[in-house]
């Protein structure tokens, strides 16, 4: 009986030690950022990205299904607004479209491209950009599916970049 008691205590102690050894976890982490602008320094480029929420999952969603929007603007008179994907989206030009892959937390992907009227694809510094005409100081575009895609359930982060292109 004493031996059984000892074993039980030891088992409980081991169980507690094991439980205590489990690392605390941080899940579903998100990040967001913006700029604080002080003084006469004007922000030369602004960018806002909006991913659509509560979309229905869908097999074989048609090409061009809208997944989000983006808006960029500048107060610079010389440069042209240029937009591209964040590096994690592995952007590449396919059939004249600036495409990028977005992934959910399960690793499922959707092939997308950036749709921006009157823009042309330009490679500078090794990065492909969609560049708007110099007259367009405020542009609105969409993130759409590139070809037929399965829209699997999940959260797909999208990071875009905007800059001034000086030819």
């Amino acid at each position: 009986m004493n031996s059984l008691f000892t074993r039980s205590v030891a088992a409980i102690a081991l169980l507690m030690a094991a439980a205590g050894a489990q690392a605390e976890s941080l899940d579903f982490e998100v990040t967001d950022s913006d700029t604080i602008v002080v003084g006469a320094t004007a922000e030369k480029v602004t960018l806002k990205v909006t991913g659509f929420k509560y979309m229905n999952s869908q097999s074989n969603a048609p090409a061009g299904t809208q997944l989000g929007t983006f808006a960029a603007s500048t107060n610079d008179t010389v440069g042209q607004i240029a937009v591209s994907y964040g590096p994690e989206h592995n952007a590449q030009v396919i059939s004249g479209l600036l495409t990028g892959r977005i992934d959910n937390e399960s690793g499922q992907s959707i092939s997308t491209y950036l749709k921006l009227a009157s823009a042309t694809v330009i490679n500078t510094g090794g990065t492909d950009w969609l560049v708007s005409p110099v007259a367009n100081k405020s542009v609105n575009g969409t993130l759409v599916t590139n070809g037929v895609n399965n829209l699997n359930p999940g959260v797909y982060p999208v990071t875009l970049r905007a800059a001034l292109y000086l030819p």
């Binding site: 941080l26 700029t35 602008v37 979309m55 440069g79 829209l151 797909y156 292109y165 000086l166």
Partner: protein
């Protein structure tokens, strides 16, 4: 006359070559992120950061943030992005806040803190603010409100997550 013509032609050619050697460039780059959410999987944590624009430098609040969760499975936590070198600020009134540094394009540092919670925990080696509710609207504040912030553009980034023990 002929040597003058040759010199002029050469000058023009050199000018053309010099002009042609200017490389196209991209400047003033910014980035922005959001989520596309498909199906029943809902966004567990929402975070929005807004930096105030056209500040004079004397204002004590430089921006705001909103963080919320729809999940009851973990504790909502938030902190500054790593580039701000987040640390703990003891207010001396029983509250602990996350403080850090922001920098403009000239590299001028400025100390800030974010509010919205009074408790900070070290989780896996990082300091996180622990709010008492599932929705927080907070401010990005000057650590010393009497100090003017230098002109420039300062990036401000936050992280939020669900903490499970």
């Amino acid at each position: 006359m002929k040597p003058l013509l040759i010199r002029n032609t050469l000058s023009a050619l050199l000018l053309c070559a010099a002009t042609g050697s200017y490389a196209a460039s991209v400047e003033s780059e910014v980035s922005a992120t959001d989520n596309v959410v498909i199906g029943a999987a809902s966004e567990k944590v929402t975070l929005r950061v807004t930096g105030y624009k056209n500040l004079k430098g004397s204002e004590s609040v430089l921006g705001s943030f909103y963080v919320s969760t729809t999940s009851s499975l973990g504790q909502l936590v938030y902190t500054l992005a790593p580039e701000h070198e987040p640390s703990v600020y003891n207010t001396g009134t029983g509250a602990y806040l996350i403080m850090g540094k922001i920098k403009n394009e000239a590299g001028d540092p400025f100390q800030i803190y974010i509010d919205g919670a009074r408790v900070v925990n070290n989780i896996n080696g990082e300091e996180w603010a622990i709010p008492s509710s599932t929705t927080v609207s907070g401010g990005v504040n000057k650590h010393d409100p009497r100090q003017n912030i230098m002109p420039g553009t300062y990036n401000i980034g936050l992280r939020a997550a669900l903490y499970q023990q």
